[in-house]
């Protein structure tokens, strides 16, 4: 493990923790953007350049902006009077800790089965494009349909309701 990995992992996890723990929603949106950026850098560290830049484009470019829009449209910048945590926060924390314990145990127990080190895969964007229109063309078309349906659906759901005359 390289120091770069530890640095990026710390950045990502700190961003995620801050997004979950901070009080102001706008600060949470900023923190989650930091976590997304850290993840994109981790992807680049894993030699997945295409996925890393797609992460930057989609998450930092679109999802973070969407979150900020939603916060501003719902007066989310005002602090709620009765705290930011749910009534059942302790149960949620226990469930999350349990899930992490199980996942961590599974990873550490299967270390011997994990491949140690392998050569850097030589994959270019050209290869990814050929695969996308070759072997993966059906999922690509389905994702295109899904994105169209989701865009139209989001607009219809968030549109002003017309007041029907009774």
């Amino acid at each position: 493990m390289t120091p770069v990995f530890y640095l990026l992992a710390a950045l990502t996890l700190a961003g995620g923790l801050a997004a979950v723990l901070l009080k102001h929603l706008v600060h949470c949106a900023l923190a989650v953007t930091v976590a997304f950026a850290g993840l994109a850098l981790l992807f680049l560290q894993l030699d997945a350049q295409f996925a890393g830049f797609a992460q930057i484009l989609v998450y930092i470019g679109a999802v973070a902006i969407l979150i900020v829009f939603a916060i501003l449209l719902t007066r989310g910048s005002e602090l709620p009077k009765d705290g930011v945590f749910s009534r059942t926060w302790f149960v949620g924390l226990v469930i999350a800790a349990g899930v992490f314990a199980v996942l961590g145990w599974a990873v550490l127990e299967s270390v011997s089965a994990i491949p140690e080190q392998s050569a850097v895969p030589q994959v270019t964007v050209h290869d990814i494009g050929v695969a996308l229109v070759g072997r993966y063309v059906l999922p690509l078309e389905i994702v295109a349909l899904l994105l169209t349906a989701a865009t139209i659906g989001a607009v219809i759901v968030a549109m002003h309701e017309k007041v029907r005359p009774k």
């Binding site: 894993l46 999802v63 969407l66 469930i95 961590g104 491949p115």
Partner: protein, 111 residues
């Protein structure tokens, strides 16, 4: 006997542990916060943790030239974008209806 040191000797295990921790943080965010937008942020963090797993397995797995994990991660990013658009649209619609994004106050199916 597996210890944390041997776990981090393998780079894949390090990435998997980071992804597990990020998933747990996202899950805690989705379960603990009252604001619907924060719950969506938690879900996004969980999806991202899964993507990190996929990319790490692609990088250290036996056949990286088959691009399976990479493609899965790319499609997962696209689906997550659609999910974020619809989810935040729903939050805005609910806010218009009930004037709140507090999930503890959303306890009615009708009106």
């Amino acid at each position: 006997m597996t210890t944390l040191e041997t776990g981090f000797a393998s780079p894949l295990a390090g990435y998997l542990l980071v992804a597990a921790l990020l998933f747990a943080i996202g899950l805690a965010g989705a379960l603990v916060r009252r604001n619907a937008i924060l719950v969506l942020i938690g879900i996004e963090l969980m999806l991202n943790a899964a993507n990190l797993n996929l990319i790490a397995f692609w990088r250290y797995g036996p056949h990286p030239e088959a691009l399976t994990g990479m493609m899965f991660a790319i499609f997962s990013i696209a689906v997550a974008a659609a999910e974020a658009a619809v989810g935040l649209g729903l939050v805005i619609a609910i806010y218009r209806h009930t004037n709140t994004t507090d999930l503890d106050k959303m306890n009615r199916m009708k009106g």
